[in-house]
């Protein structure tokens, strides 16, 4: 029952009030998630990754582009049909407790999707709710609790139970563990992982935490200022990052192991505003390997290895790796 998701040229622009311009949140994003796999969308704030996730579920209306689920175009679907389609695709949110209605008991929260999308009667619904709680490793006692009485991890598990209630084929996981304590993250991620195997779910994992992504994603797309700069199998992207931004991102991610002193590279400069997009490569203003040609036009994707692409002009002559002196940090380009 898992879904294949195809996104083509997704664009989202927000007009600023007072006609002061537009925010280019998502600028032509294209990717495919094969059924049952996990694609991670990685990037920092302003990268547009959360907006992409929401566009896929029509929680935000895309400005243009195609989004198909097993061939069915969601982006063009009329609003009335979207509501009933929602049984097929759900979302896990970053703030678990806030994603649950504050005054509702867990029972009501779990029953809602069943009432909306199934024709199960009372006893059948109850049975299904108990089943759902069990699949996220919560005891039936939790049915009577309200969100205020739940810890972050428990709330997220309730949210997961709610999300799989209607047997969807696709889940968007929007930073599912960033608001959860470190020692609990593994258990939540393992539940998501085993549910994916058991129910054959397709995942879009949105995260800024490369640690999580590395362990759980099949493929990774790195985003910067609304566009994908690198896309490929997770192992390849982490082992051999092609785009300078990916390299900077990886080097800024500190390993929790004092014996591995990473060769650090620190980017200079600030993330440019997404209102006035630069004409050439979006990363040019901070790229340590920038050259004149970068400012002329937006670089198209180059193939680094099978299934692994990066949008950097320097891939053509193999000069796309940022040099880092052994055993120390390197200064960035003048920012």
């Amino acid at each position: 029952m898992s879904t294949t998701v195809e996104v083509t040229d997704l664009v989202k622009r927000y007009p600023l009030t007072g006609g002061k311009g537009t925010v280019h949140a998502v600028n032509g994003v294209t990717f495919t998630i094969p059924a049952g796999e996990t694609l991670a969308l990685v990037g920092e704030s302003g990268s547009g990754k959360s907006t992409v996730g929401r566009c896929l579920l029509r929680l935000v209306e895309p400005t243009s582009g195609r989004v198909t689920f097993d061939g069915l175009d969601i982006a063009q679907m009329p609003k009335a049909k979207v509501r009933s389609w929602r049984a097929n695709a759900q979302m896990i949110f970053q703030d678990p407790i806030d994603s649950l209605s504050p005054r509702m008991r867990v029972q009501t929260i779990l029953e809602e999707p069943l009432l909306l999308h199934t024709t199960l009667d009372g006893p059948a619904r109850r049975e299904r709710m108990l089943e759902l709680l069990e699949s996220v490793r919560l005891s039936p006692r939790y049915l009577d609790r309200v969100p205020r009485q739940l810890s972050g991890g428990e709330a997220q598990r309730v949210a997961i139970a709610r999300a799989i209630a209607t047997n969807p084929g696709f889940l968007v996981l929007d930073e599912p563990t960033s608001s959860i304590d470190l020692s609990i993250r593994a258990s939540v991620l393992s539940i998501l992982s085993s549910l994916q195997e058991k129910l054959g779910l397709t995942y879009l994992l949105i995260s800024h935490d490369l640690h999580t992504v590395g362990a759980y994603a099949d493929r990774v797309a790195v985003m910067y200022l609304g566009a994908i700069v690198e896309l490929g199998p997770a192992e390849r992207v982490f082992a051999d990052p092609q785009h300078p931004y990916t390299q900077a991102l990886l080097s800024a991610t500190l390993p929790a192991d004092p014996t591995r002193r990473s060769n650090r590279f620190v980017l200079k400069g600030e993330v440019p505003s997404s209102i006035q997009l630069p004409q050439g490569c979006l990363f040019a203003s901070r790229c340590p390997l920038v050259m004149d040609a970068c400012l002329e036009r937006h670089p198209r994707f180059r193939v680094a290895s099978p299934q692994h692409v990066a949008a950097c002009i320097r891939l053509d002559d193999g000069t796309n790796k940022i040099p880092v002196p052994v055993g120390g940090t390197a200064a960035g380009s003048p920012g």
Binding site: F93, S151, G152, A217
Partner: protein
Amino acid sequence: MSSIVIPQSTEQGPSAAPPARVTRRRVARFLRQNWLFDIGLVIVSISLVLAVFGPVIAPYDPQLPTPEVSAPPPSLASVPGLIVETVLGRREHPVHWFGTELTGLDIFSRVLVAPRVDVVVGVAATAISFVLGTLLGLLAGFFRTRSAETIIRVSDTFQSFPIFILAMILVVLTGRNVIDIVLTLAALYTPIYLRLTCSQVVSQVGRTYVEAARAVGNRELVIALKHVLPNSLTPALIQASVTIGWAILFTAGLTFLGAGVRPPTPEWGGMIASGANLLILGEWWPSVFPGLAISITVVGYAIIGNVLEARYRQ
């Protein structure tokens, strides 16, 4: 995805207890710690009981003159003895605890029966404006359409008028029976609830659970009513008690000025008005007792509102 060994988890999160038991304990503790609130609660309860059972409790028919005309209330020294006599049933005629006025009407009975008008008008007007105001506020805050903005602007304009003058005009225009007064006050108070609810709703609309409710597949209206409204009612609920107090005061004030209910319906404001002329004669009891009644009642409602608000602000 690879599977990872899960360590046993003990989160440092809130401990869970069944909701009902905890709520009852909390309410009990609240009542114990806030003696002022308890006083207000007692006053409000008495006013509500009188509004329903006033005529039953009153010793005399409030609109029937008695032979004792302009009788002052019993002296303080004689009160205990009179209470004993009343309890033992030895009195042929009930005591005029608050004395009588010009035509012999028993003031005590009238004070007890007046809530039938004052409190009922207060509660009814507040109830109507509450329901109307919160619903309009919910729609305006949730849907934020052009018409919603217009509703808010209209309600703001309404609020900028001196309410009392507006009330008087409306009441005189629509007629001076209880229903008209209730509707007038309801119309005047609706903007308050509209505003309160609207701003709460606006603050809720960006919360994650609203987006999550959408993702589950709810209709927008259902999201507004089922998810957002219950979390936006608190300021309105706190305001309700205070509004009842205001409404009682308004009704009394209107009647005092001669623009409210017509006599001889017993009503605190009217009683104060008719008793005002007698003050010069030294007969204080026809106006002072209803005056005290109204003050204490309004203060009671205000206390509840203020204590709840102080608690909510924490």
